[in-house]
Symmetry: C3
Protein backbone atom coordinates (compact mmCIF):
# COMPACT_ATOMS: atom_id res chain seq x y z
CA UNK A 1 0.00 0.00 0.00
CA UNK A 2 1.09 3.55 -0.80
CA UNK A 3 -0.38 6.68 0.79
CA UNK A 4 0.60 10.24 -0.17
CA UNK A 5 -0.07 13.51 1.60
CA UNK A 6 1.33 17.05 1.86
CA UNK A 7 2.08 19.22 4.87
CA UNK A 8 1.68 22.93 4.12
CA UNK A 9 3.26 25.22 6.65
CA UNK A 10 3.86 28.97 6.95
CA UNK A 11 7.23 29.70 8.53
CA UNK A 12 8.02 32.89 10.47
CA UNK A 13 11.54 33.30 9.09
CA UNK A 14 14.68 31.48 10.18
CA UNK A 15 14.35 28.64 12.68
CA UNK A 16 13.19 25.09 13.35
CA UNK A 17 9.49 24.14 13.44
CA UNK A 18 8.33 20.77 14.75
CA UNK A 19 6.22 18.70 12.33
CA UNK A 20 6.22 15.36 14.20
CA UNK A 21 2.47 15.62 14.94
CA UNK A 22 1.62 16.27 11.29
CA UNK A 23 3.67 13.25 10.17
CA UNK A 24 2.03 11.08 12.86
CA UNK A 25 -1.43 12.16 11.66
CA UNK A 26 -0.61 11.25 8.05
CA UNK A 27 0.48 7.77 9.16
CA UNK A 28 -2.73 7.26 11.15
CA UNK A 29 -4.84 8.38 8.20
CA UNK A 30 -2.99 6.01 5.85
CA UNK A 31 -4.11 2.99 7.89
CA UNK A 32 -0.65 1.47 7.28
CA UNK A 33 0.64 -0.31 10.41
CA UNK A 34 4.06 -1.56 9.27
CA UNK A 35 6.42 0.03 6.79
CA UNK A 36 8.22 3.35 6.35
CA UNK A 37 7.38 7.01 5.92
CA UNK A 38 9.43 9.25 3.65
CA UNK A 39 9.44 12.95 4.56
CA UNK A 40 10.60 15.16 1.68
CA UNK A 41 11.04 18.96 1.66
CA UNK A 42 10.14 20.48 -1.73
CA UNK A 43 12.54 23.44 -1.37
CA UNK A 44 16.25 24.29 -1.62
CA UNK A 45 16.34 26.98 1.08
CA UNK A 46 14.60 24.94 3.80
CA UNK A 47 15.54 21.48 5.05
CA UNK A 48 14.86 18.75 7.63
CA UNK A 49 16.54 17.77 10.85
CA UNK A 50 15.56 15.16 13.44
CA UNK A 51 16.54 16.88 16.68
CA UNK A 52 15.99 16.85 20.42
CA UNK A 53 12.48 18.15 21.12
CA UNK A 54 12.78 18.62 24.89
CA UNK A 55 14.92 21.69 25.59
CA UNK A 56 14.49 24.57 23.10
CA UNK A 57 17.97 25.89 23.99
CA UNK A 58 19.51 22.96 22.08
CA UNK A 59 17.67 24.03 18.94
CA UNK A 60 18.66 27.66 19.39
CA UNK A 61 22.33 26.66 19.62
CA UNK A 62 21.95 24.48 16.53
CA UNK A 63 20.40 27.35 14.56
CA UNK A 64 23.11 29.74 15.74
CA UNK A 65 25.85 27.30 14.73
CA UNK A 66 24.58 27.21 11.14
CA UNK A 67 24.29 31.02 11.11
CA UNK A 68 27.93 31.30 12.06
CA UNK A 69 29.21 28.44 9.87
CA UNK A 70 27.67 29.99 6.73
CA UNK A 71 27.64 33.76 7.34
CA UNK A 72 25.35 36.04 5.35
CA UNK A 73 28.10 38.54 4.61
CA UNK A 74 30.46 36.00 2.98
CA UNK A 75 32.36 38.31 0.60
CA UNK A 76 33.04 35.84 -2.23
CA UNK A 77 29.41 34.69 -2.80
CA UNK A 78 28.41 35.41 -6.40
CA UNK A 79 24.77 34.27 -6.15
CA UNK A 80 23.44 37.35 -4.32
CA UNK A 81 20.57 38.62 -6.50
CA UNK A 82 17.91 37.04 -4.28
CA UNK A 83 19.26 38.69 -1.12
CA UNK A 84 22.09 38.09 1.37
CA UNK A 85 20.21 35.23 3.10
CA UNK A 86 19.62 33.20 -0.09
CA UNK A 87 23.01 31.57 -0.73
CA UNK A 88 23.59 30.76 2.99
CA UNK A 89 20.13 29.12 2.92
CA UNK A 90 21.09 26.76 0.09
CA UNK A 91 24.33 25.76 1.83
CA UNK A 92 22.66 25.22 5.23
CA UNK A 93 20.10 23.05 3.41
CA UNK A 94 22.88 21.00 1.77
CA UNK A 95 24.53 20.50 5.18
CA UNK A 96 21.33 19.11 6.72
CA UNK A 97 18.71 16.95 4.96
CA UNK A 98 16.10 17.09 2.18
CA UNK A 99 14.62 13.62 2.82
CA UNK A 100 14.34 11.39 5.89
CA UNK A 101 12.87 7.89 5.97
CA UNK A 102 11.52 6.60 9.27
CA UNK A 103 10.37 3.04 10.11
CA UNK A 104 6.73 2.48 11.17
CA UNK A 105 6.18 -0.46 13.52
CA UNK A 106 2.69 -1.36 14.83
CA UNK A 107 1.34 1.97 13.61
CA UNK A 108 4.03 4.14 15.24
CA UNK A 109 7.27 5.67 14.04
CA UNK A 110 10.28 4.17 15.81
CA UNK A 111 11.52 7.62 16.87
CA UNK A 112 13.65 7.69 20.01
CA UNK A 113 12.30 9.29 23.19
CA UNK A 114 13.83 12.70 22.48
CA UNK A 115 13.58 12.78 18.70
CA UNK A 116 11.30 15.24 16.92
CA UNK A 117 11.07 15.92 13.17
CA UNK A 118 11.71 19.58 12.37
CA UNK A 119 11.41 21.74 9.28
CA UNK A 120 14.47 24.00 9.21
CA UNK A 121 13.62 27.33 7.57
CA UNK A 122 16.76 29.14 6.39
CA UNK A 123 15.29 32.30 4.80
CA UNK A 124 14.87 35.45 6.89
CA UNK A 125 11.33 36.23 5.82
CA UNK A 126 8.23 34.03 6.31
CA UNK A 127 7.70 31.44 3.57
CA UNK A 128 4.98 29.02 2.54
CA UNK A 129 6.58 25.54 2.59
CA UNK A 130 5.45 22.13 1.35
CA UNK A 131 6.58 18.77 2.67
CA UNK A 132 5.66 15.59 0.75
CA UNK A 133 4.91 12.49 2.80
CA UNK A 134 4.70 8.96 1.45
CA UNK A 135 3.78 6.01 3.66
CA UNK A 136 4.54 2.56 2.20
CA UNK A 137 3.83 -0.79 3.80
CA UNK A 138 1.16 -3.23 4.94
CA UNK B 1 6.59 -3.86 -7.19
CA UNK B 2 10.35 -3.28 -7.08
CA UNK B 3 12.44 -1.99 -10.00
CA UNK B 4 16.24 -1.60 -9.94
CA UNK B 5 18.54 0.27 -12.29
CA UNK B 6 21.98 1.87 -12.33
CA UNK B 7 23.14 5.26 -13.61
CA UNK B 8 26.75 5.18 -14.87
CA UNK B 9 28.33 8.57 -15.25
CA UNK B 10 31.81 9.89 -16.08
CA UNK B 11 32.61 13.01 -14.05
CA UNK B 12 35.07 15.68 -15.20
CA UNK B 13 36.59 16.27 -11.78
CA UNK B 14 35.16 18.33 -8.91
CA UNK B 15 31.66 19.73 -9.28
CA UNK B 16 27.93 19.02 -9.37
CA UNK B 17 26.31 17.12 -12.28
CA UNK B 18 22.52 17.01 -12.71
CA UNK B 19 21.01 13.50 -12.87
CA UNK B 20 17.30 14.42 -12.54
CA UNK B 21 16.58 13.32 -16.12
CA UNK B 22 18.22 9.92 -15.61
CA UNK B 23 16.19 9.33 -12.43
CA UNK B 24 12.99 10.39 -14.20
CA UNK B 25 13.70 7.95 -17.03
CA UNK B 26 14.22 5.06 -14.59
CA UNK B 27 10.84 5.81 -12.98
CA UNK B 28 9.08 5.88 -16.36
CA UNK B 29 10.68 2.57 -17.35
CA UNK B 30 9.64 0.97 -14.04
CA UNK B 31 5.97 1.55 -14.84
CA UNK B 32 5.43 2.36 -11.14
CA UNK B 33 3.00 5.29 -10.72
CA UNK B 34 2.90 5.69 -6.93
CA UNK B 35 5.64 5.03 -4.41
CA UNK B 36 9.19 6.19 -3.78
CA UNK B 37 12.54 6.19 -5.52
CA UNK B 38 15.78 5.68 -3.58
CA UNK B 39 18.88 7.23 -5.14
CA UNK B 40 22.11 5.77 -3.71
CA UNK B 41 25.71 6.75 -4.57
CA UNK B 42 28.06 3.74 -4.45
CA UNK B 43 31.15 5.78 -3.51
CA UNK B 44 32.73 7.53 -0.50
CA UNK B 45 34.34 10.41 -2.38
CA UNK B 46 31.22 11.49 -4.30
CA UNK B 47 27.80 12.31 -2.88
CA UNK B 48 24.31 13.62 -3.60
CA UNK B 49 22.64 16.96 -3.13
CA UNK B 50 19.18 18.18 -4.16
CA UNK B 51 19.89 21.76 -5.17
CA UNK B 52 18.53 24.69 -7.14
CA UNK B 53 18.80 23.89 -10.84
CA UNK B 54 18.05 27.34 -12.25
CA UNK B 55 21.07 29.60 -11.69
CA UNK B 56 24.48 27.84 -11.98
CA UNK B 57 26.07 30.54 -9.79
CA UNK B 58 24.31 29.05 -6.75
CA UNK B 59 25.97 25.69 -7.42
CA UNK B 60 29.39 27.30 -7.94
CA UNK B 61 29.09 29.05 -4.57
CA UNK B 62 28.01 25.78 -2.94
CA UNK B 63 31.01 23.94 -4.41
CA UNK B 64 33.38 26.74 -3.34
CA UNK B 65 31.98 26.69 0.21
CA UNK B 66 32.83 22.98 0.59
CA UNK B 67 36.30 23.61 -0.89
CA UNK B 68 36.96 26.23 1.78
CA UNK B 69 35.29 24.38 4.67
CA UNK B 70 37.46 21.28 4.10
CA UNK B 71 40.74 22.56 2.61
CA UNK B 72 43.05 20.24 0.69
CA UNK B 73 46.13 21.43 2.55
CA UNK B 74 44.79 20.65 6.04
CA UNK B 75 48.08 20.00 7.88
CA UNK B 76 46.86 17.38 10.40
CA UNK B 77 45.29 14.93 7.88
CA UNK B 78 46.96 11.53 8.23
CA UNK B 79 45.12 9.76 5.38
CA UNK B 80 47.09 11.34 2.52
CA UNK B 81 48.44 8.36 0.52
CA UNK B 82 45.74 8.68 -2.15
CA UNK B 83 46.47 12.36 -2.78
CA UNK B 84 45.63 15.70 -1.16
CA UNK B 85 42.05 15.68 -2.55
CA UNK B 86 41.12 12.25 -1.11
CA UNK B 87 40.49 13.00 2.56
CA UNK B 88 38.62 16.28 1.85
CA UNK B 89 36.44 14.23 -0.56
CA UNK B 90 35.40 11.80 2.16
CA UNK B 91 34.53 14.62 4.56
CA UNK B 92 32.57 16.63 1.95
CA UNK B 93 30.67 13.39 1.18
CA UNK B 94 29.87 12.90 4.89
CA UNK B 95 28.60 16.50 5.10
CA UNK B 96 26.18 16.01 2.19
CA UNK B 97 24.26 12.78 1.35
CA UNK B 98 24.80 9.22 0.17
CA UNK B 99 21.09 8.35 -0.22
CA UNK B 100 17.97 10.36 -0.96
CA UNK B 101 14.41 9.02 -1.11
CA UNK B 102 11.87 10.94 -3.18
CA UNK B 103 8.08 10.37 -3.34
CA UNK B 104 6.52 9.42 -6.71
CA UNK B 105 2.92 10.55 -7.17
CA UNK B 106 0.97 9.82 -10.39
CA UNK B 107 4.19 8.81 -12.14
CA UNK B 108 6.15 11.95 -11.19
CA UNK B 109 8.61 12.79 -8.43
CA UNK B 110 7.22 15.44 -6.07
CA UNK B 111 10.31 17.63 -6.56
CA UNK B 112 9.74 21.35 -6.00
CA UNK B 113 9.91 23.75 -8.96
CA UNK B 114 13.58 24.59 -8.46
CA UNK B 115 14.86 21.24 -7.20
CA UNK B 116 17.27 19.15 -9.24
CA UNK B 117 19.10 15.97 -8.16
CA UNK B 118 22.87 16.33 -8.46
CA UNK B 119 25.83 14.00 -8.20
CA UNK B 120 28.53 15.87 -6.28
CA UNK B 121 32.00 14.74 -7.42
CA UNK B 122 34.66 15.59 -4.85
CA UNK B 123 37.82 14.18 -6.50
CA UNK B 124 39.96 16.43 -8.72
CA UNK B 125 40.35 13.97 -11.58
CA UNK B 126 37.55 12.45 -13.73
CA UNK B 127 35.96 9.33 -12.23
CA UNK B 128 33.53 6.66 -13.36
CA UNK B 129 30.61 6.75 -10.89
CA UNK B 130 27.64 4.46 -10.27
CA UNK B 131 24.32 5.45 -8.73
CA UNK B 132 21.86 2.71 -7.71
CA UNK B 133 18.16 3.47 -8.17
CA UNK B 134 15.32 1.48 -6.66
CA UNK B 135 11.68 2.32 -7.36
CA UNK B 136 9.13 0.73 -5.02
CA UNK B 137 5.36 1.05 -5.19
CA UNK B 138 2.22 0.27 -7.15
CA UNK C 1 6.69 -7.65 2.57
CA UNK C 2 7.93 -5.64 5.57
CA UNK C 3 10.50 -6.88 8.10
CA UNK C 4 11.57 -4.93 11.21
CA UNK C 5 14.53 -5.46 13.51
CA UNK C 6 16.70 -3.51 15.96
CA UNK C 7 20.47 -3.34 16.36
CA UNK C 8 21.52 -2.71 19.98
CA UNK C 9 25.09 -1.60 20.39
CA UNK C 10 27.25 -0.37 23.27
CA UNK C 11 29.62 2.38 22.15
CA UNK C 12 32.94 3.13 23.84
CA UNK C 13 32.64 6.91 23.59
CA UNK C 14 33.32 9.09 20.55
CA UNK C 15 34.06 7.39 17.23
CA UNK C 16 32.69 5.38 14.31
CA UNK C 17 31.59 1.74 14.70
CA UNK C 18 30.89 -0.46 11.67
CA UNK C 19 27.41 -2.05 11.57
CA UNK C 20 27.43 -3.35 7.96
CA UNK C 21 27.47 -6.98 9.13
CA UNK C 22 24.48 -6.46 11.43
CA UNK C 23 22.47 -4.82 8.62
CA UNK C 24 23.42 -7.65 6.24
CA UNK C 25 22.24 -10.23 8.78
CA UNK C 26 18.86 -8.50 9.19
CA UNK C 27 18.37 -8.56 5.41
CA UNK C 28 19.20 -12.28 5.23
CA UNK C 29 16.80 -13.05 8.07
CA UNK C 30 14.01 -11.06 6.37
CA UNK C 31 14.10 -13.37 3.34
CA UNK C 32 13.52 -10.30 1.16
CA UNK C 33 15.61 -10.51 -2.05
CA UNK C 34 14.70 -7.22 -3.78
CA UNK C 35 13.80 -3.92 -2.23
CA UNK C 36 15.35 -1.43 0.17
CA UNK C 37 16.57 -1.31 3.76
CA UNK C 38 16.09 1.79 5.90
CA UNK C 39 18.65 2.26 8.69
CA UNK C 40 17.46 4.72 11.36
CA UNK C 41 19.34 5.91 14.47
CA UNK C 42 16.98 6.52 17.42
CA UNK C 43 19.17 9.21 19.02
CA UNK C 44 20.09 12.89 18.60
CA UNK C 45 23.70 12.64 19.80
CA UNK C 46 24.71 9.73 17.55
CA UNK C 47 24.33 9.49 13.77
CA UNK C 48 25.10 7.48 10.64
CA UNK C 49 27.70 7.78 7.94
CA UNK C 50 28.50 5.50 5.01
CA UNK C 51 32.28 5.71 4.85
CA UNK C 52 35.38 3.98 3.51
CA UNK C 53 35.91 0.77 5.50
CA UNK C 54 39.43 -0.08 4.30
CA UNK C 55 41.92 2.29 5.93
CA UNK C 56 41.04 3.31 9.55
CA UNK C 57 43.14 6.49 9.17
CA UNK C 58 40.41 7.94 6.91
CA UNK C 59 37.85 7.48 9.69
CA UNK C 60 40.16 9.00 12.30
CA UNK C 61 40.61 12.11 10.13
CA UNK C 62 36.83 12.29 9.62
CA UNK C 63 36.23 12.11 13.37
CA UNK C 64 38.90 14.72 14.07
CA UNK C 65 37.40 17.06 11.46
CA UNK C 66 34.03 17.05 13.24
CA UNK C 67 35.77 17.57 16.60
CA UNK C 68 37.43 20.70 15.26
CA UNK C 69 34.44 22.00 13.26
CA UNK C 70 32.18 21.90 16.35
CA UNK C 71 34.50 22.44 19.34
CA UNK C 72 33.43 21.45 22.84
CA UNK C 73 34.53 24.73 24.35
CA UNK C 74 32.39 26.92 22.05
CA UNK C 75 31.82 29.92 24.36
CA UNK C 76 28.35 30.96 23.16
CA UNK C 77 26.60 27.57 23.61
CA UNK C 78 23.68 27.94 26.01
CA UNK C 79 22.63 24.26 26.14
CA UNK C 80 25.41 23.09 28.46
CA UNK C 81 23.60 21.40 31.38
CA UNK C 82 24.24 17.89 30.02
CA UNK C 83 27.99 18.48 29.72
CA UNK C 84 30.37 20.15 27.26
CA UNK C 85 30.12 17.26 24.76
CA UNK C 86 26.30 17.33 24.50
CA UNK C 87 25.64 20.33 22.24
CA UNK C 88 28.55 19.50 19.86
CA UNK C 89 27.03 15.98 19.63
CA UNK C 90 23.67 17.31 18.44
CA UNK C 91 25.32 19.53 15.83
CA UNK C 92 27.63 16.78 14.54
CA UNK C 93 24.56 14.56 14.27
CA UNK C 94 22.71 17.23 12.26
CA UNK C 95 25.71 17.56 9.91
CA UNK C 96 25.75 13.82 9.16
CA UNK C 97 22.70 11.51 8.88
CA UNK C 98 19.88 10.03 10.98
CA UNK C 99 18.49 7.76 8.24
CA UNK C 100 19.99 6.05 5.22
CA UNK C 101 18.11 3.94 2.67
CA UNK C 102 20.05 1.35 0.68
CA UNK C 103 18.86 -0.72 -2.30
CA UNK C 104 18.79 -4.54 -1.99
CA UNK C 105 19.30 -6.42 -5.27
CA UNK C 106 19.32 -10.26 -5.40
CA UNK C 107 19.58 -10.43 -1.62
CA UNK C 108 22.54 -8.01 -1.32
CA UNK C 109 22.87 -4.32 -0.58
CA UNK C 110 24.26 -2.41 -3.58
CA UNK C 111 27.06 -0.91 -1.47
CA UNK C 112 30.20 0.06 -3.37
CA UNK C 113 33.42 -1.89 -2.83
CA UNK C 114 34.75 0.46 -0.15
CA UNK C 115 31.49 1.46 1.53
CA UNK C 116 30.70 0.44 5.09
CA UNK C 117 27.76 1.58 7.24
CA UNK C 118 28.94 3.19 10.49
CA UNK C 119 27.26 4.35 13.67
CA UNK C 120 28.87 7.68 14.61
CA UNK C 121 28.90 8.11 18.40
CA UNK C 122 29.35 11.76 19.37
CA UNK C 123 29.21 11.56 23.20
CA UNK C 124 32.44 11.14 25.19
CA UNK C 125 31.20 8.37 27.48
CA UNK C 126 29.96 4.89 26.42
CA UNK C 127 26.28 4.77 25.47
CA UNK C 128 23.71 2.09 24.71
CA UNK C 129 22.40 2.84 21.19
CA UNK C 130 19.50 1.49 19.14
CA UNK C 131 19.25 1.42 15.36
CA UNK C 132 15.91 0.55 13.73
CA UNK C 133 16.05 -1.45 10.50
CA UNK C 134 13.15 -1.93 8.10
CA UNK C 135 13.45 -4.09 5.00
CA UNK C 136 10.70 -3.63 2.40
CA UNK C 137 10.35 -5.52 -0.86
CA UNK C 138 9.63 -8.85 -2.52
Amino acid sequence: MVSHSTIRIRTRGKGTLEITGEVRRAIEQSGIRDGIVTVFVRHTSASLVIMENADPSARRDLEMFFDKLVPENTPWFSHTLEGPDDMPSHIRMALTRTSETIPIHDGRMTLGTWQGIFLFEHRSSPHQREISLTVIGD
